[in-house]
Amino acid sequence: MALQSLDVKQRSASTTVPPGVRETLEVAKLIDVSKCIGCKACQAACMEWNDLRDDVGIVQGFYDNPADLTDRSWTVMRFYEEEMPLKGPAGGTENVLQWLIVKDGCLHCEDPGCLRACPAPGAIVQYSNGIVDFAQENCIGCGYCQTGCPFNIPRFSAKDQKAYKCTLCSDRVAVGLAPACVKTCPTQALTFGSKEDMLDLAGARITELKERGFDKATVYDPAGVKGTHVVFVLPHGDPALYRLPVNPEVSPLVAMWRSGVAKTLGVLTMVAVVVGGIFHYMKVGPLEVKDDEAKET
């Protein structure tokens, strides 16, 4: 939902020039997986703040509930049991079980594939602080945002045929509050602030984790989407372990479809059709129904 108190930087299917007077801070949420205990308080807080109540589901053999993101579950905890070679008590490596708990939800890409793919003017906006938000009143329910998203985030509502996802609590952030999930996180696995501060914090955590033996610890802020406004600290490094795309990027098709080339190409095509039509008219004349054909019908 678009808010007047946040400046809009980008707007889907529009060429509006963003306002430029105010100096706003780029924000980010840091998810430190090494501090997360999977308590789902973030999920509960998200439902509370955003007035969302998903259906009471069933257990499918996992702790993940609801089992997937939905129009009413904008964040879900995912639990992965991974056995991986780590240092054992005797010094050598042994297969050690790790329970990797990942908070799934929108990453608020700096270069948002959803926004680029969206054909409905103003249905998806990006604020100057980096948050990517859906304005459902402008959504036409075409599903292009899903195609455009490299993280498989937007979900459609069966109720109103519109797309929904995490807003990073843009309403809270607009008035200087942290997102509800961050506010409620008991272990500070979630923190919120300027992107710069969050990257500093993440860097310090990587140093600490490396001291504790997590040699491959890394920050996940993928360059393919020009960085994200939700950044992860991954103690075991490899994003694939956490089911995060290793090199996410906006699909070339989507990139082309909303790019200047595509637009130019589209305009050229339209002009060509009109010109061609004129030539056709000049050469062949108007298309008329002949008398005998008309009689047959």
């Binding site: 205990i37 999977g38 009471v56 069933i58 579950s73 008590p89 329970w99």
Partner: protein, 809 residues
């Protein structure tokens, strides 16, 4: 907790065994994360399954349910063998040097004094040798063959790493890795905090599990230290307050005890409880028992308690035996209980052996539940198909439901695990006709009293004599009750040091329990809470987060019992000369004329170090007990006993499998399963998404964890043809439940003495009331047996069988 939540951040090692705080106490767990992130602490987790706490642990070991003492015994042996103990602490602050009576013995699983016929121990031999001076005999060199240190070595010599592996299933290398991490905190400048909860209490050896860790912490010198201690994480909001106020059948407020049948008069009662020092120069704080008791009687009975009637001693009931929850349910089952009032309690879901409970509840004439929610107990008579297959036409119990408010609908205080009392304010009125619990009790009491006034009765005096001076008698306010617990002066209390001054004037709120008197001039509902609401006001409502010491003591945030002391036994944080062991962890120190420091000294404030008073002032001997003397029902040392239902024989003494002192009723002996029929070790537990049987009534809680499931390992699942998400049946000797299967890598088959043992994990949160999918009560399966000391049911270790359900209901 000996320490408190924030203090966890000061630890070098955080040991979690018998609990799962990330899951059950996620908010408090922030301090474990803090210790890891800012104190480079190592987190060690030992549990029957890989939990959410294990997910952030540095080291995890999977243990067989009910094998904890074998592990802890192995640690004690390891510490003694490697001499990784805090020697000066052990020799000065524990009973290591005390000489035990010659006739104390331990042989083949039995301590001396076992009375087969009476089914209990005669504990006479479990005590110290007494010298000619009337005090206990000690040998400071620790060489006497019967001194506690030597007996300890001898007792735990059997717990070798091999024995630990054979009983617990934890490989020796893993055991030694953890034992070395624990041993590293024997250094005076390193501490380990230990966190436990119901994973330790809910065993027939529950109290001994905790004792074993207390002994380890004493050997390491970690008791009384910042970042140390033995810390019980309480399972409900304000369950700490419940025990502080004595809401157990054999307790009075402040851990005083209800008189027994043979305590025929006040003097007899007090003499047994007013403990004299067992060593010269010791404080033995319970010497003040008469002051606490008489002041409580004055708070309860006011003017009706006089010197002449022994402070209304005869108004108190006298116990012929302990009426713990299992006993009451057993009596109900036998048809000997007419009515049952449960307030804020869902016993059908919370006690073992559901069918036995249903039979008992069905024999009642009336049942009253006082609760904000519809509990399964209040609808025990309802046929819910497979999950509660009863015939309502055959149940004549009349059920009354009195809707109460919840915590947010009243003012009051909550005592957290760290003994801090925090006042809270009402946020909303209770809905519809619901009333605050105090109002419900107030209404009941005033009407019962009116009946006694009108009709008399066999012995109306306690009811008619009860002091009930609340402004609105049928609606006592939380303020009034809190002031009453703190206590006030009934007359001027002269200062014994200067008779021209007074400690308190008549009518004033008391400042400290040190001012309590045994002559009827003070009234105090709970001596431990004295100081919480003084003349200065409600100290529980203080919200100053300042922390001058940096140790997280926050002395002006709320108020902690006793005496606003944040860390118990803090005298032990300094050496015998009064100098803190660790300059980074300075709690108190000898400041020349008196003790001073960052915390309130847990000691006689002006006792000079050279006077030799020891830090554990509540104990008559002044020191911490490695040898438990006669304080425990099942032995002065912890010993590994199998759960009553166990997949394995006792490897240490096959003839004595489970603890002989366990609480088992005759009729239940036939209700215990054997491993040939029920081969799998089962354990029950909570999940973070739910709070007991409450949060299933909330939509969000129901969304986050909607349906009953049971966890089992991949090998067992494959053997039984069970796939993830299948419907399975879990059977014990007492009943069956049907649940979704969760096949997981987080539980592994264990090798127990060469045999493969599987563990089945059963979360407890479902029932037929609320918004989650209806489910069986987990306690359909659990055994009706209890801990030898405190009768806590053995929910954490029993036997089941598992199979796939083929007919889809």
């Amino acid at each position: 907790m000996t320490n408190h939540w924030v203090d966890i951040k000061n630890a070098d090692v955080v040991m979690v065994m018998g609990g799962n705080p990330a899951e059950a106490h996620p908010c408090g767990f922030k301090w474990v994360i803090e210790a890891k992130a800012h104190n480079k602490a190592k987190l060690v987790v030992i549990d029957p399954r890989f939990t959410r706490t294990a997910a952030v642990a540095d080291v995890f070991a999977q243990i067989r349910p009910g094998a904890d003492i074998a592990f802890l015994g192995g640690v004690i042996r390891h510490l003694l063998e490697k001499d990784a103990i805090h020697k000066e602490y052990v020799s000065s602050y524990t009973n290591a040097a005390f000489v035990v009576r010659e006739d104390y013995k331990f042989d083949e699983g039995l301590f001396s004094g076992w009375d087969e016929a009476g089914n209990k121990y005669d504990k006479a031999t479990w005590t110290y040798e007494t010298g000619a001076d009337g005090f206990a005999v000690v040998d400071p060199t620790l060489q006497h063959p019967r001194c506690v240190y030597q007996l300890l070595k001898q007792h735990f010599a059997r717990y070798t790493p091999q024995v630990v592996e054979d009983i617990t299933g934890i490989p020796q290398a893993k055991f030694l890795q953890i034992a070395d991490i624990i041993a590293s905190t024997a250094a005076p400048n390193r501490t380990m905090t230990h966190l436990y909860a119901l994973g330790w209490t809910q065993h027939t050896v529950g109290a001994q599990n905790i004792r074993a860790m207390a002994m380890i912490q004493l050997l390491l010198g970690n008791v009384g230290m910042a970042g140390g201690g033995v810390n019980a994480l309480r399972g409900h909001s304000n369950i700490q307050g419940l025990t502080d106020l004595g809401l157990l059948s054999d307790l009075l407020p402040g851990y005083m005890t209800v008189p027994r049948e043979n305590d025929t008069d006040l003097d007899t009662y007090l003499a047994k409880r007013t403990l004299k020092p067992a060593r010269p120069g010791q404080m033995s704080y319970w010497q003040n028992y008469p002051k606490f008791f008489v002041s409580m009687q004055k708070a309860w009975f006011g003017k009706a308690a006089t010197k002449e009637n022994a402070w209304a001693y005869d108004f108190l009931p006298k116990l012929d035996k302990v009426y713990d929850v299992l006993t009451v349910m057993e009596l109900m089952f036998q048809g000997k209980v007419n009515g049952y009032v449960c307030q804020g309690f869902n016993p059908l879901a919370s006690f073992p052996h559901k069918q036995k409970l249903i039979d008992g509840l069905s024999k009642l004439k009336f049942l009253v539940t006082i609760d904000p929610l519809a509990t399964e107990t209040s609808t025990f008579w309802k046929n819910m198909g497979d999950i509660n297959d009863v015939d309502p036409t055959k149940i004549q119990t009349e059920v009354f439901r009195l809707p109460s408010g919840c915590f947010a609908e009243e003012d009051g205080s909550l005592v957290n695990s760290g003994r801090t009392l925090q006042w809270h304010w009402k946020a909303a009125d209770p809905p519809a006709e619901a009333k605050a619990d105090t109002e419900i009790v107030g209404e009941l009491f005033t009407r019962i009293r009116a009946l006694y006034q009108k009709e008399g009765g066999t012995f109306p005096d306690p009811i008619l004599g009860l002091a009930w001076d609340y402004k609105i008698p049928n609606k006592p306010s939380p303020d009034e009750i809190a002031r009453e617990f703190n206590g006030k002066a009934l007359g001027d209390i002269p200062d014994p040091k200067d008779k021209t001054k007074t400690l308190a004037k008549a009518g004033e709120q008391l400042a400290t329990f040190a001012h309590l008197q045994d002559d009827g001039t003070t009234a105090c509902g709970n001596w431990l809470f004295c100081g919480s609401w003084t003349q200065a006001g409600n100290n529980m409502a203080r919200r100053d987060p300042s922390d001058p010491s940096g140790l997280g003591l926050t002395p002006a945030w709320g108020w902690s019992w006793p005496a606003n002391r944040r860390i118990l036994y803090n005298r032990a944080s300094a050496d015998p000369a009064g100098k803190p062991w660790d300059p980074k962890r300075k709690l108190i120190w000898w400041a020349g004329e008196k003790w001073a420091g960052n915390d309130v000294p847990d000691f006689k404030i002006d006792s000079k170090p050279e006077e030799g008073m020891s830090p554990f002032i509540m104990n008559p001997e002044g020191v911490g007990r490695l040898f438990g003397t006669d304080k425990m029902a099942d032995g002065p040392f912890p010993e590994h006993y199998e759960p009553v239902e166990s997949p394995s024989a006792n490897a240490l003494h096959p003839k004595v499998g489970h603890t002989p002192a366990a609480r088992i009723f005759k009729g239940d002996r036939g209700n215990m399963g054997k491993p040939d029929e029920f081969p799998y070790a089962a354990t029950t537990y909570r999940l973070t998404e739910h709070f007991h049987f409450w949060s299933k009534h909330t939509r969000i809680g129901a969304v986050l964890q909607p349906e009953l499931f049971v966890e089992l390992d991949e090998v067992l699942a494959q053997k039984k043809g069970i796939k993830n998400g299948d419907r399975i049946q879990v059977r014990s000797k007492r009943g069956r439940i049907v649940a979704k299967a969760m096949v997981t890598k987080r539980i592994k088959p264990l090798k127990i003495a060469g045999k493969e043992v599987h563990t089945v994990g059963i979360p407890i949160h479902w029932g037929w009331e609320g918004l989650t999918k209806p489910g069986h009560l987990a306690n359909t399966l659990t055994p009706f047996v209890g801990d030898a000391n405190v009768q806590t049911p053995e929910f954490k270790a029993f036997l089941v069988d598992v199979e796939k359900v083929l007919d889809r209901a």
